[in-house]
C-alpha cells in the first residue's frame, strides 16, 4: 500500500515537472506580453498596450508578412514536389541510396545547409544570372527541407495505400488524371496535409537559412533576432504570443483532420 502510494505520488510529481519544464517558459512569455511594466522582473499590472505598439510597428509587421509569404510559397512547392518524390521513391525507383539522400536535408545541421545554399545561390543566381537574393531565395531554401519532410510523411501514408484501387479505377473507366483526383489524392490527403502543416510551421520560425539567404529582406525570426540583440522588448513577447496562438491553431486543425480520418 505504502509503496504504491509513494509510486503514485512520484509519478505525479514527474508529470508536473515535465509539464512545467515544457510549458512554463511559454506561459511566462504570454504573461509578460500583458505586463504593463515591460520588465521581466516585476509585474506592473495588466495591459494590451504592447499589442497596440506591435501593430503600429511597421518593421515587425512587414517582417511578419514576409514570413507568411515565404511559408506559403515554400509549403506549396514542398507539397507538390515532396508528394511526387514520395511516389517516385515508394513506387518507381527502389534505391537505398536515394532513400538516404532524401533524408539529408532533414538531418544535416541548418547552418551547413544555409552556407551551402548561400554559396550556391550566390554563384548561380547572383554571379551568373545577376539576380539578387531576396524572399524567393528564402522560399527555395525552405522548400529544400520542406520537400524532405513532406515526402517522408506522404511515404508512410503510401505504404498503407492499396495500389489495386488505382488499377480498379482505371478498369472502371477513369483516366489516369481522374484516378489521381478521385482515388489517389483523397486517400493520401491526410499525409499531404500533415506534411504541409509541418513544412509550414518549420518555415515560419526558420532562422538560420533565412538569415543567410534573404539578402536585404527581413523575415520575422530575423527581425526578432535583431531586436533581441538590444534586449527583449515586450513587443516581441506580444508577437511571440501571437505566433504561439497561430501554431496552436494549426495543430488543432491537424488533430481535427486526424480525428475525422479515424472515424471515416
Amino acid at each position: 500500500m505504502r509503496s504504491d502510494g509513494g509510486r503514485h505520488w512520484a509519478s505525479g510529481a514527474v508529470f508536473l515537472a515535465t509539464v512545467a519544464f515544457l510549458y512554463l517558459p511559454i506561459a511566462v512569455l504570454i504573461g509578460l506580453s500583458f505586463n504593463a511594466s515591460g520588465l521581466p522582473t516585476s509585474w506592473g499590472g495588466f495591459t494590451t498596450g504592447w499589442y497596440d505598439r506591435l501593430f503600429a510597428n511597421d518593421e515587425i509587421l512587414s517582417a511578419f508578412r514576409n514570413t507568411l509569404i515565404v511559408a506559403v510559397c515554400a509549403t506549396a512547392i514542398s507539397v507538390v514536389i515532396g508528394t511526387l518524390l514520395a511516389f517516385g521513391l515508394e513506387r518507381t525507383v527502389r534505391s537505398r541510396a536515394l532513400d538516404a539522400g532524401s533524408f539529408v536535408p532533414m538531418v544535416i545541421p541548418d547552418i551547413v545547409l544555409a552556407i551551402a545554399l548561400l554559396s550556391f545561390y550566390n554563384l548561380v543566381f547572383t554571379q551568373w544570372m545577376g539576380v539578387r537574393l531576396g524572399l524567393w531565395s528564402v522560399i527555395l531554401g525552405h522548400a529544400v527541407f520542406g520537400i524532405a519532410f513532406v515526402s517522408a510523411i506522404v511515404r508512410t501514408r503510401l505504404r498503407h495505400f492499396d495500389d489495386s484501387t488505382v488499377e480498379a479505377s482505371l478498369d472502371l473507366g477513369a483516366t489516369e488524371l481522374q484516378t489521381f483526383r478521385h482515388v489517389t489524392l483523397p486517400q493520401i490527403a491526410p499525409g499531404v496535409i500533415a506534411g504541409a502543416l509541418v513544412a509550414f510551421t518549420l518555415s515560419l520560425d526558420e532562422f538560420v537559412i533565412a538569415f543567410f539567404t534573404a539578402g536585404t529582406e527581413v523575415t520575422f525570426p530575423i527581425q526578432v533576432y535583431s531586436m533581441v540583440r538590444f534586449g527583449v522588448t515586450p513587443e516581441i513577447n506580444a508577437a511571440a504570443t501571437i505566433v504561439v496562438g497561430f501554431s496552436l491553431m494549426l495543430m488543432l486543425v491537424a488533430v481535427r483532420l486526424r480525428g475525422q480520418e479515424d472515424t471515416a
Partner: protein, 331 residues
C-alpha cells in the same frame, strides 16, 4: 469472342506467359487454373490492360486489345483484394464507374442501387467498405464491376479471401450471376475444386504454358499430361501400355472386387478412412507401390479393414494414358 493468340510476356529473364493461345466463347464461364507463378494472373492482367504482351495478339470480337488503355476496354475486373475505394461509401464505389462514363448523378445512383440489389446488398449503400464483412465486400466489388455491363468480367482469385463456408455459397452465387447477366466470366484460380465446380471450361497452366484445355469432366477423366492428372484431384499412376507412359486411374475407378476387371493388382489394405459419402482405402500393392481407392460408403462393395488382402481391378476405359516424362520440374 476472346482470342488469345500466341501471347508471350517476359519479366526480365522470367517468361511469365510463354506462347499461349486459347479462345473463350461468348457467355462462357472460363477458368485459368494453375499453381502460383504459372502465369494465369499475368494473362488476366493482360486482358484487363495492366500488362502488355511482348508478343502476340489479344482479340476481343476480332479487334486487337493490345495498346488499348484499361479504361477503354469493355472488360471489368474483380480484384483479389477487392480494391474497394475506402474513402467512398458502398454506393459511391458502385456508381464510380458510371460517373466516369459520364452518367448523370441521379441515374448512376439508381443503377448502383439496382446492382447492389442484384448482389443482395440492397440498403447497404450508405456504409463504408470498412464496415462490411469479407463476403459483403466481395459482393460490392462484384456489383461495381457488373454495373458497367461489361462484355467480359475478369475475376482474380475471387474466393481466396473468403472463409471456407462462404466460399461454397459464393461459387453457386457466381454461377447464378453469370447466367443472370449473360456475359463471359474469366476466372483465375489455383483451387482445382473451385475451377471444376464453376467453370464450363478450364485451361490448366503450368510454367507459363497451357497444359490442357477442356470441360472439367474431360480434364479429370482424360488428363493429357501427368501434371494435369495430379493437379486435378488424386491420381493413381500405373506403368503405361508403352514404355515411357503411365496410366492414370482415379481412386473411384479402382474396384475392390477386381477379379472380373481388365487389370488386376494384388495387395494389402494399409488404412481405411471414412469420408462420409465414401471410404478411402489405402492399399500397398505387392510390388511395393501405394494406391488409393475410393468406394461409395453405402454401396454393395465388400467392407474391408486394415490388414485384409485385396485384389484391386480397373478397366482401360476408365483410365487415361500420359507421358511419364516431363517429370516434376516446376511443379
Amino acid at each position: 469472342m476472346i482470342e488469345i493468340d500466341r501471347i508471350t510476356k517476359r519479366f526480365g529473364a522470367v517468361t511469365a506467359v510463354d506462347d499461349v493461345s486459347l479462345t473463350i466463347a461468348e457467355n462462357e464461364f472460363f477458368a485459368l487454373l494453375g499453381p502460383s507463378g504459372c502465369g494465369k494472373t499475368t494473362l488476366l492482367r493482360m486482358l484487363a490492360g495492366f500488362e502488355s504482351p511482348d508478343e502476340g495478339r489479344l482479340l476481343l470480337d476480332g479487334s486487337d486489345l493490345v495498346g488499348v488503355k484499361p479504361y477503354r476496354r469493355p472488360l471489368n475486373m474483380m480484384f483479389q483484394s477487392y480494391a474497394l475505394f475506402p474513402h467512398m461509401t458502398v454506393e459511391q464505389n458502385v456508381a464510380y464507374g458510371l460517373r466516369m462514363e459520364g452518367v448523370a448523378k441521379a441515374a448512376a445512383r439508381e443503377r448502383a442501387a439496382e446492382a447492389l440489389e442484384q448482389v443482395q446488398l440492397g440498403g447497404m449503400g450508405a456504409r463504408r467498405p470498412a464496415q462490411l464483412s469479407g463476403g459483403q465486400r466481395q459482393r460490392v466489388a462484384l456489383a461495381r464491376a457488373l454495373v458497367k455491363k461489361p462484355r467480359v468480367l475478369l475475376l482474380d482469385e475471387p474466393l481466396s479471401a473468403l472463409d471456407r463456408q462462404i466460399r461454397g455459397e459464393m461459387q453457386i452465387e457466381l454461377k447464378r450471376l453469370q447466367h443472370q447477366v449473360g456475359i463471359t466470366f474469366v476466372v483465375v484460380t489455383h483451387d482445382q475444386e473451385e475451377a471444376m465446380s464453376m467453370a464450363d471450361r478450364i485451361a490448366v497452366m503450368r510454367a507459363g504454358r497451357v497444359e490442357q484445355i477442356g470441360p472439367p469432366d474431360e480434364l479429370y477423366e482424360r488428363p493429357a499430361t501427368r501434371f494435369v492428372a495430379s493437379f486435378l484431384g488424386d491420381a493413381n499412376l500405373f506403368p503405361g501400355p508403352r514404355p515411357g507412359t503411365l496410366t492414370v486411374v482415379r481412386p473411384e475407378m479402382l474396384h475392390l472386387d477386381g477379379a472380373g476387371r481388365e487389370h488386376r493388382h494384388e495387395g494389402r489394405v494399409l488404412e481405411v478412412v471414412f469420408l462420409g459419402t465414401a471410404r478411402k482405402y489405402v492399399v500397398e500393392l505387392d510390388d511395393g507401390a501405394t494406391v488409393q481407392a475410393r468406394i461409395g460408403a453405402h454401396g454393395p462393395a465388400p467392407r474391408l479393414t486394415a490388414g485384409d488382402r485385396v485384389t484391386l481391378g480397373w478397366d482401360a476405359a476408365d483410365a487415361a494414358v500420359v507421358d511419364a516424362e516431363e517429370a516434376t520440374a516446376g511443379v
